[in-house]
C-alpha cells in the first residue's frame, strides 16, 4: 500500500504508529532493535573484504566484542575501496552512490554506497519526518494529497537530493518547481524559481537548508517597493494567494510592518536541515508562523534523526545507524593526541547536557563501521515523560572542532587552508582560523594571519587585499564555498592581520600551543589583548 492509500484507508493513529511508532519505544526496546540490526550488519560485513579488514579472522559475536575489537574509523580507512567504488568488497550491493565534500581529505569528495535496504529505511524515515513536521500533537498530523512542496535542499549527489525521488512514488506531491524541470536547473535557480512559484500558487510544505530559508525569509518582500506589488507580479497568482497577498500588504501598510512569509503562506509542514538550525529556529518560527522541524543527516549516515511534534530536540532513528558517542573531553584529547583511543558510550549510557561526538555504524548493508562522522551533538535530555518519550533527544552543536562548517555549505580544515594559502602564493608564516558569527547570525571564517617577516609584500598587504586574494582561491578550491556567496550572498571570510611572531609570542607567554583551527574563544580574546598590550609597550615590531 502506498503512503497515499494509507492516508485514505487507515486512521491517523495507524499511520502514525507505522512511521512514528519508534517514538514509543522505551530505551531497552530501542537498544534491542539497535543491537539486533547491528548483528545483521556484522553478519553482512563478515562476508566481505571490507568487513574482514576490521574483523580479522573472526567476526564479533556480541555487542561488547564488537566495541572492543573493531577500531574507530575515519574515511581514510575506506577510501581505497569507496573512492574507486569496489562494489564486490562491500557487504551488500549498492543501488546508488552519494558523495559530499571530504574535509581534510586527499581528494575533494568522499562517497558512500546506498543499498536497497538503506533506501527503504530512508523512505520510511523521511515520511516520518514529513508526518511530524505537520503535527502539532501526538497522533495528529495533516498531509494533503497533491500538496505543494517547495524543496530547497541540496540536490543529488547529496543525501537530501534523494528526498523527491523517494517520496514521489509514495504520495502525489507537487514539487515547486516540478521535478522534471528542477533537474535541468542549478540549485540556486531551482530555489529561486520554486519560491516564485510558491508565491503564485501557494505552498503546503517547505523543505530547505536553514541558512537559505533564513536568508529568503529575511529578504522576503512581495513587490519591489517593499510592500507594494506590481501588476506584472500579480499576474498568474491564484485567487487564494492573491487574497492573502493583498491582505498581507494591507495589514503591512496599516501597521507599518514588513510583510512576513507567515502572512502569505499557511504551511502545514516546515522542515529545516543544516548545521546552524538551532540558531535560527525561533526567528524562523516568528517569521513563518510555524515552528520548523529540524532533521539531521549526512551523506554517510543518511537521515539520522528528526524532531518530534514538539520540535524541541532530535531523536535518532533506531533503524538507520548504530550509534555510539564519544564524550567531549575525550574527543578533544583525541584531536590533540591522535594516538589516544577515546571511549564510546551507547544511547542508554548518555548524560543529559553533555556534548558528544557521534560515532556510527551504518545498518542495512552500509559501508561504515564505528565511523567518526565528525558531528557533535548535545544530549538535551535522556527522556521526556511529558511527551511519552523514553529515548534521548539531541541538539546539533557543530562539526568537530578541527572542522569549520559555514552555514552547512562548506567544511574547512587546516588542510584546506594550507592548500589555499599555498595556491595563493602569499607567504603566510602562521595563522589561526576560527568559526565566528556576525550580527545576522551568519557564521563566517575568521582568519588571524601573520605574513612572513622576510617577505617584502608583508608591509603593504592589508587585510582587505589579503581577504580578496585568499577568497579567490577558496572559491576556486571549494565549490561549496563558492555557493555561499551565490546563494546566501555571504562572504564567509574575515581576515585580521597580525604582526609576525604574535602567535608564537602568545603561545610562549601562555605556555601552550594553540590549535590552528578553532582555538578556544577565550584564547582568541586573550591573543587580541596580548597584541594590544604588546603594541602599547612598544614591543611590537614590524619588519
Amino acid at each position: 500500500m502506498r503512503f497515499e492509500e494509507k492516508l485514505k484507508n487507515l486512521s491517523q493513529r495507524e499511520v502514525w504508529e507505522e512511521y512514528c511508532g519508534f517514538l514509543e519505544l522505551n530505551i531497552d526496546e530501542y537498544m534491542q532493535m539497535q543491537t539486533r540490526l547491528l548483528m545483521e550488519q556484522i553478519d553482512l560485513m563478515s562476508r566481505c573484504a571490507l568487513g574482514k579488514r576490521f574483523f580479522a579472522e573472526q567476526p564479533p559475536k556480541t555487542l561488547e566484542e564488537f566495541r572492543a575489537r573493531v577500531p574507530l574509523t575515519r574515511f581514510d580507512d575506506y577510501a581505497d575501496i569507496l573512492l574507486v567504488k569496489r562494489e564486490e568488497a562491500l557487504p551488500a550491493p549498492p543501488v546508488l552512490w552519494l558523495s559530499t565534500t571530504w574535509e581534510g581529505g586527499d581528494r575533494p569528495f568522499k562517497c558512500a554506497p546506498y543499498t536497497e535496504g538503506m533506501l527503504d529505511t530512508y523512505r520510511r524515515n523521511i515520511l516520518a519526518a514529513m508526518i511530524l513536521s505537520t503535527s502539532r500533537e501526538k497522533y495528529s498530523f495533516r498531509i494533503r494529497n497533491n500538496a505543494k512542496v517547495l524543496f530547497s535542499l541540496a540536490p543529488l549527489p547529496y543525501a537530501t537530493g534523494l528526498f523527491p525521488g523517494l517520496v514521489d512514488p509514495e504520495i502525489k506531491i507537487r514539487f515547486l518547481p516540478p521535478l522534471r524541470e528542477a533537474h535541468k536547473l542549478s540549485f540556486s535557480e531551482r530555489c529561486k524559481k520554486g519560491f516564485k512559484m510558491s508565491l503564485k500558487s501557494g505552498m503546503n510544505q517547505f523543505y530547505g537548508m536553514t541558512s537559505i530559508i533564513y536568508n529568503m525569509s529575511k529578504s522576503f518582500s512581495f513587490g519591489s517597493g517593499g510592500g507594494s506589488a506590481s501588476l506584472k507580479e500579480l499576474a498568474g497568482v491564484s485567487p487564494v494567494m492573491l487574497y492573502r497577498l493583498l491582505k498581507a500588504l494591507y495589514e503591512s501598510k496599516r501597521d507599518g510592518k514588513p510583510v512576513r512569509p507567515g502572512d502569505v503562506f499557511k504551511l502545514d509542514g516546515f522542515v529545516c536541515v543544516g548545521t546552524d538550525t538551532a540558531l535560527y529556529k525561533d526567528e524562523l518560527e516568528e517569521m513563518w508562523g510555524i515552528r520548523p522541524l529540524e532533521v539531521a543527516g549526512g551523506t554517510e549516515p543518511c537521515l539520522l534523526g528528526t524532531e518530534t511534534w514538539k520540535k524541541d530536540g532530535l531523536v535518532f532513528f533506531p533503524d538507520n545507524c548504530f550509534y555510539e558517542f564519544i564524550p567531549e573531553a575525550d574527543m578533544l584529547r583525541s584531536i590533540e593526541d591522535p594516538a589516544y583511543i577515546p571511549p564510546t558510550y551507547l544511547m542508554n549510557e548518555l548524560q543529559a547536557g553533555e556534548k558528544y561526538e557521534l560515532v556510527l555504524t551504518t545498518l542495512r548493508g552500509g559501508a561504515f563501521l564505528r565511523y567518526r562522522v565528525g558531528d557533535v551533538y548535545r544530549c538535551l535530555r535522556t527522556a521526556k515523560p511529558a511527551d511519552g518519550l523514553d529515548i534521548p533527544q539531541f541538539e546539533y552543536v557543530d562539526r568537530v572542532p578541527n572542522v569549520i562548517d559555514i552555514d552547512g555549505f562548506t567544511r574547512i580544515t587546516n588542510r584546506e587552508i594550507d592548500r589555499v594559502i599555498e595556491l595563493s602564493g602569499l607567504r603566510v608564516s602562521d595563522y589561526l582560523a576560527a568559526k565566528e558569527y556576525d550580527a545576522d547570525k551568519h557564521s563566517y571564517l575568521h582568519m588571524y594571519v601573520e605574513m612572513d617577516a622576510q617577505d617584502e609584500r608583508s608591509a603593504i598587504v592589508e587585510a582587505e587585499i589579503f581577504k580578496e586574494h585568499l577568497g579567490v582561491y577558496f572559491r576556486y578550491f571549494d565549490s561549496d564555498y563558492n555557493d555561499l556567496k551565490r546563494l546566501i550572498g555571504v562572504d564567509p571570510l574575515v581576515v585580521t592581520m597580525l604582526p609576525p611572531g604574535t602567535i608564537r609570542a602568545f603561545e610562549h607567554s601562555c605556555g601552550r600551543i594553540l590549535p590552528r583551527v578553532n582555538p578556544k574563544r577565550s584564547d582568541l580574546l586573550d591573543l587580541e589583548s596580548f597584541r594590544k598590550t604588546a603594541r602599547r609597550s612598544g614591543k611590537e615590531e614590524r619588519p
Partner: protein, 849 residues
C-alpha cells in the same frame, strides 16, 4: 400504473427496511446500534406508510401518508444522530436542538403545513399519488440541508481531528447521497411509476448496515436469528392475508357457503399455515445465506477439538491441524511451525502442500515471533509491515518470508508463551475476512491447548525417561531405545558402546559426592556433544553410560570413545577445578551382527568388553570380538598383567579355601572352570569372555565357605531345611565377590549358575536367554562335574549317564543349544574329562592373560 407496479417497489423497500430493522433489533445493542434502529424505524415508517397509503388501507390514505411523511421528516435528524454516535462526538446541545426542531416540523406536518391535498388519482386507468406543496415546505428543506451539513462537519472533524480513516465513511456517504439523489429525482422528475425515493431509501439502509458490518459492530449471522425471521413471517403472512382475503372470501362463499360458522376458523387455519410456511422458508433461506458457513465452521471446530483431544502426540496433533487447515481454509498453503525444546527456534512441522522447506525456521527473537508473542493475535503480513517490530527485521528474514509468500500469521499461544505459529500464503486476491480470522483464531486456541497438553506429556515422558542428575536417558528408556534401534538396524549395523568411569567410588571419597555429581554431569555433556545425532546416550547405571549407535560400526564407536577420553582429560585438567584430577573410564564395544546376534548378547558382550577393559588396567577401550583376541586401544599392557596376576592369586586363595573345607568337592571348582571355559570357547565367545567364565567357574561355589561343614559333607539326603541352607551358597558367593571390586565382573555368571532354562531355578528364577550365557555354561559344567564326581551320598556316575541326564534335561534345566554342544564336545573328546581338570592349577591363570 398497474397495482403491482404501483406498490411493488415501496413494498420491497419496506420489506428490506423492516427486515434490517428486525435484524438489528435482535442483535446486541449499544448506543450506536440504538441510533441505527431509530434510523431504520424511520425507513420502515417511510416505506411502510407509503405502501399502505397506496393501498388505501384502513384507516385511510391520509393516515398512512402522515406515517410515511413522519418517517421522511425524521430521517435527517436520525442520520445526524447516527453519525453523532458513529463519530464518537461529545456534547449534546446541537443534537438536542436538532431534535426539537425536527419534532416541531413533524408535528406541523401532521397539520398539513408543508404538503396539502394528498390524493390518489386514477389517470388513464393508472393509480397515481399526487400532492401539493405549500411555500412553507422550504423550511424543512433548509433545515434538512443544515442538519446534514452539520452531520458532514462531524464526519470531517472526525477525519481531520481524530484521524479516522476517510475510507471508513465511504459506505455511509454513498448511502446518504443515494438516498437524497432518490428524493431529488422523485421531486424533480415526478417518476410516479418508479418511486425512486423509497428505492434509494432501501439502498441507504443496506449501505449503513454494511458500514456497521465492516466496523464489526453487526454480524451477518444475526440476520438468521429466530426473532426477525418470525416477525418477517408474520408480516409476510399478514400481507398475504390482506391481499388474498377478498379472493378467499369469494371462494369460501362459493364452495362452503353452507358453513358460515366455520369461516373464521378456516381463515385462521389457512393463514397460520401460510405463516408457518413463510417462517420455514425464510429460516432455511437465511440459514443458507448467513448461518450455513458459521454452523459448518462451528461443526469443524468441534470436530477438531474432539480429534486433537484424543491424542497426546504432538505429531498427531500437527497432522490433524494440517488436515483441518487443508479442508477449511481458502489459501495457497500454510506452514505450521512449532517451537523446539528450548523455545529458541520455530521450525516447520507440517505444510499443507508437499513443498516443505525443512530448513526454514524462525528464531524466538524474530520480530514476527516477538509480535505474535506479545499480541497473541493473528496479523496480516501487510499489517505486520506497519509495526515498529518490523523495523528490526533483517533483510534475509524479510526475503525468507517473502519467498514463502507469507500473507497472514496465526499464533498458537498458551499462557503468554508462543508454542508455534501458522504462516499462510493466501490465494491470489483473497483477503482473510474477519469471520475467517475469528475461525482460525478459535482453531488455534484449541490446537494451543492440545499442544500444551502434548508438550506437558512429552515433558513428563522426558522426565520419566531422563536421569535427573545428568539429564541423559535412564536405563529403562535406553533399553527401549536400544530395542527400537535393534529393530531398525535388523538389516544393518548397530554398535553398543558401554562406558564405565574408573575408580569412581574413590573419586567420590576424595573430592566429595557433590564434585562427583558434577563430574558425572560434565562427562554426560561431553558424551552428548560428541555423539550428537549419531546415537542415543544414557546413564545406564551409577557410573556407567551406554551409547546406542545405529548404523555405525565398532571403528566409529572407538573413535567416539577416543574423543570422549580426550575431552574428559581436558575437562579434568581445565578450568573449574583447583587442581588436576584424574578421572578415566573403561569402555567396551560390541557390534551387531558381527559380534552379537541379539540385543541381550549385545548388552552382555559390551559389558564383558568393559570388564575386560577394567581388567586390562582401566582407562582403555575394548572391542568385543568372538574370533580374535581382545583389542586394546591404549592400555598399558604391563600394568594389566600385574593386575591380573594380583587377581589370579586372589582367585587361587579363595579356591584353595573352599577346596580345603570340602574334600569331596576337591577340584570341583577347577573342573567346572575347565568344562565351562571349554564350552564357552566353542560357542564361540571371545577370549576375554571365556576367561571370565573360567574364573567364575573357579569361584562359583565360594559361598560354600559359609555353609556348615556338616551339611557339605553329609552322607545322606539333605533335609529341606539343609537344602535351603545349601542354596544360600549362591548369595554367599556374591556377598564375598562383592567385597572384591576387582572381581565384580564375575558376579553375573556366578549368581546365575543355579538358574534353570525353564525358570524354576534359584536365586532369581530367571529363564531362557535372560540367564547370562556364562551362567548357563557354568550350570551345565557344574551339574556334569557333580554327576561325574564321587559324593558323600553317592558314587560318581559314568560320563555317558551324566550326558544322558543332561540330554534329558535340555530345555528344562539346561540351555538346549549349549547342552547339546557340550554333549557333542564331550563325546567327540574335545572336552577331556578328569585329566585336564585335575591337572589344572589356578596358577596357570597367569599364562592365559
Amino acid at each position: 400504473m398497474s397495482v403491482p407496479s404501483f406498490i411493488i417497489v415501496p413494498l420491497l423497500c419496506f420489506f428490506s427496511s423492516a427486515f434490517l430493522f428486525l435484524v438489528v433489533v435482535a442483535s446486541k445493542k449499544n448506543r450506536l446500534i440504538v441510533a441505527f434502529i431509530h434510523l431504520l424505524f424511520c425507513f420502515v415508517l417511510w416505506t411502510g406508510g407509503s405502501v399502505l397509503m397506496r393501498l388505501s388501507v384502513y384507516p385511510g390514505m391520509e393516515f398512512w401518508y402522515g406515517v410515511s411523511a413522519t418517517g421522511i421528516f425524521c430521517v435527517p435528524f436520525c442520520i445526524y444522530n447516527f453519525l453523532y454516535f458513529y463519530t464518537n462526538r461529545r456534547g449534546s446541545f446541537a443534537r438536542t436542538m436538532w431534535f426539537l426542531i425536527w419534532l416541531v416540523i413533524v408535528v406541523l406536518n401532521w397539520f398539513n403545513v408543508f404538503i396539502t391535498n394528498q390524493r390518489i388519482e386514477l389517470i388513464n386507468g393508472v393509480r397515481e399519488f399526487h400532492y401539493d406543496i405549500t411555500p412553507l415546505a422550504v423550511i424543512p428543506i433548509v433545515v434538512a440541508a443544515a442538519t446534514l451539513f452539520c452531520a458532514c462537519r462531524m464526519v470531517w472533524n472526525n477525519i481531520r481531528q481524530d484521524g479516522v480513516a476517510p475510507g471508513s465513511f465511504t459506505p455511509l456517504l454513498i448511502g446518504v447521497l443515494v438516498m437524497f439523489l432518490g428524493l431529488i429525482v422523485q421531486s424533480v422528475f415526478h417518476l410516479v411509476w418508479l418511486n425512486t425515493d423509497t428505492i434509494f431509501c432501501g439502498v441507504n439502509a443496506v449501505c449503513l448496515y454494511y458500514a456497521l458490518y465492516k466496523k464489526r459492530i453487526i454480524t451477518l449471522s444475526s440476520m438468521a436469528a429466530s426473532r426477525p425471521i418470525s416477525l418477517m413471517a408474520v408480516a409476510f403472512g399478514t400481507i398475504t392475508g390482506v391481499i388474498v382475503f377478498p379472493y378467499a372470501e369469494r371462494l369460501y362463499d362459493r364452495f362452503f357457503g353452507n358453513y358460515p360458522n366455520a369461516q373464521v376458523f378456516v381463515y385462521c387455519l389457512f393463514f397460520s399455515v401460510i405463516t408457518i410456511l413463510y417462517f420455514t422458508v425464510l429460516r432455511a433461506l437465511a440459514g443458507k445465506l448467513f448461518v450455513k458457513n458459521q454452523e459448518a465452521r462451528e461443526r469443524e471446530l468441534a470436530k477438531l477439538g474432539r480429534t486433537i483431544s484424543a491424542s497426546l502426540e504432538i505429531d498427531t496433533t500437527v497432522e490433524t491441524f494440517r488436515e483441518f487447515l487443508l479442508q477449511n481454509c481458502v489459501m495457497e498453503r500454510a506452514y505450521i511451525l512449532l517451537a523446539d525444546e528450548n523455545k529458541e527456534n520455530y521450525r516447520i512441522a507440517a505444510c499443507t502442500q508437499d513443498i516443505v522447506l525443512k530448513n526454514f525456521s524462525i528464531t524466538a527473537e524474530h520480530p514476527l515471533a516477538v509480535w505474535l508473542r506479545s499480541h497473541a493475535e493473528s496479523i496480516s503480513y501487510q499489517a505486520f509491515c506497519r509495526t515498529k517490530e518490523y523495523r528490526s527485521m533483517w533483510a534475509q528474514e524479510r526475503r525468507a518470508l517473502e519467498e514463502l509468500r507469507v500473507d497472514f500469521a496465526l499464533p498458537i499461544t498458551s499462557d503468554g508463551a508462543l508454542l508455534g505459529m501458522v504462516l499462510f500464503s493466501a490465494k491470489k486476491g483473497h483477503v482473510f475476512s474477519p469471520a475467517e480470522v475469528s475461525f482460525l483464531e478459535s482453531a488455534a486456541a484449541l490446537v494451543a491447548i492440545a499442544f500444551k497438553n502434548a508438550s506437558l506429556y512429552v515433558e513428563m515422558q522426558n522426565e520419566a525417561r531422563r536421569d535427573p542428575l545428568t539429564e541423559l536417558y535412564n536405563h529403562r528408556y535406553f533399553l527401549k531405545k536400544l530395542k527400537a534401534d535393534f529393530d531398525e538396524c535388523a538389516e544393518d549395523r548397530l554398535t553398543l558402546l558401554m562406558i564405565s568411569l574408573d575408580d569412581f567410588r574413590l573419586y567420590n571419597e576424595l573430592y566429595g559426592t557433590q564434585d562427583g555429581d558434577l563430574a558425572l554431569q560434565r562427562f554426560s555433556r561431553i558424551i552428548e556433544s560428541i555423539v550428537g545425532e549419531r546415537g542415543t546416550v544414557s546413564r545406564f547405571a551409577g557410573k556407567e553410560f551406554a551409547v546406542s549407535l545405529p548404523h555405525l560400526d565398532a571403528v566409529a564407536a572407538k573413535g567416539i570413545a577416543r574423543e570422549c577420553r580426550a575431552l574428559l582429560e581436558r575437562e579434568m585438567s581445565g578450568a573449574g577445578y583447583p587442581a588436576i584430577r584424574r578421572l578415566t573410564f573403561s569402555a567396551g564395544i560390541c557390534s551387531y551382527p558381527f559380534s552379537a546376534s541379539n540385543m541381550d548378547d549385545l548388552l552382555s558382550y559390551a559389558n564383558m568388553a568393559v570388564y575386560s577393559a577394567k581388567r586390562s588396567g582401566k582407562n582403555t577401550t575394548v572391542v568385543y570380538s568372538p574370533d580374535k583376541d581382545k583389542e586394546i586401544t591404549d592400555a598399558a599392557s604391563g600394568q594389566a598383567r600385574e593386575l591380573d596376576a594380583a587377581r589370579a592369586s586372589t582367585i587361587y586363595a579363595l579356591t584353595a579355601a573352599i577346596d580345603a573345607k570340602d574334600n569331596y568337592t576337591f577340584r570341583h571348582s577347577d573342573n567346572v572352570a575347565h568344562y565351562a571355559a571349554a564350552l564357552a570357547k566353542e560357542i564361540p565367545l571371545d577370549a576375554d569372555h571365556v576367561e571370565i567364565i573360567r574364573q567364575a567357574g573357579l569361584l562359583h561355589d565360594i559361598g560354600k565357605i559359609g555353609v556348615p561343614e556338616a551339611i557339605l559333607t553329609k552322607q545322606g539326603r539333605l533335609t529341606a531345611e539343609e537344602y535351603e541352607m545349601m542354596k544360600q551358597h549362591v548369595e554367599g558367593s556374591i556377598a564375598m565377590i562383592r567385597h572384591l571390586p576387582s572381581l565384580d565382573y564375575l558376579i553375573p555368571a556366578v549368581i546365575g549358575h543355579h538358574e534353570r532354562w525353564d525358570g524354576k531355578g534359584y536365586p532369581r528364577g530367571l529363564a531362557g536367554e535372560a540367564i547370562p550365557v556364562g551362567a548357563r555354561c557354568l550350570c551345565i559344567a557344574d551339574t556334569f562335574d557333580a554327576m561325574t564326581s564321587n559324593r558323600p551320598y553317592r558314587r560318581a556316575l559314568t560320563v555317558e549317564t551324566a550326558l544322558a541326564e543332561i540330554e534329558r534335561n535340555l530345555g528344562l534345566q539346561f540351555d538346549p543349544q549349549l547342552g547339546r554342544l557340550f554333549i557333542n564336545l564331550v563325546r567327540s573328546g574335545r572336552i577331556q574329562i578328569g585329566e585336564e581338570g585335575e591337572n589344572k592349577q589356578p596358577a596357570q591363570l597367569k599364562e592365559k592373560q
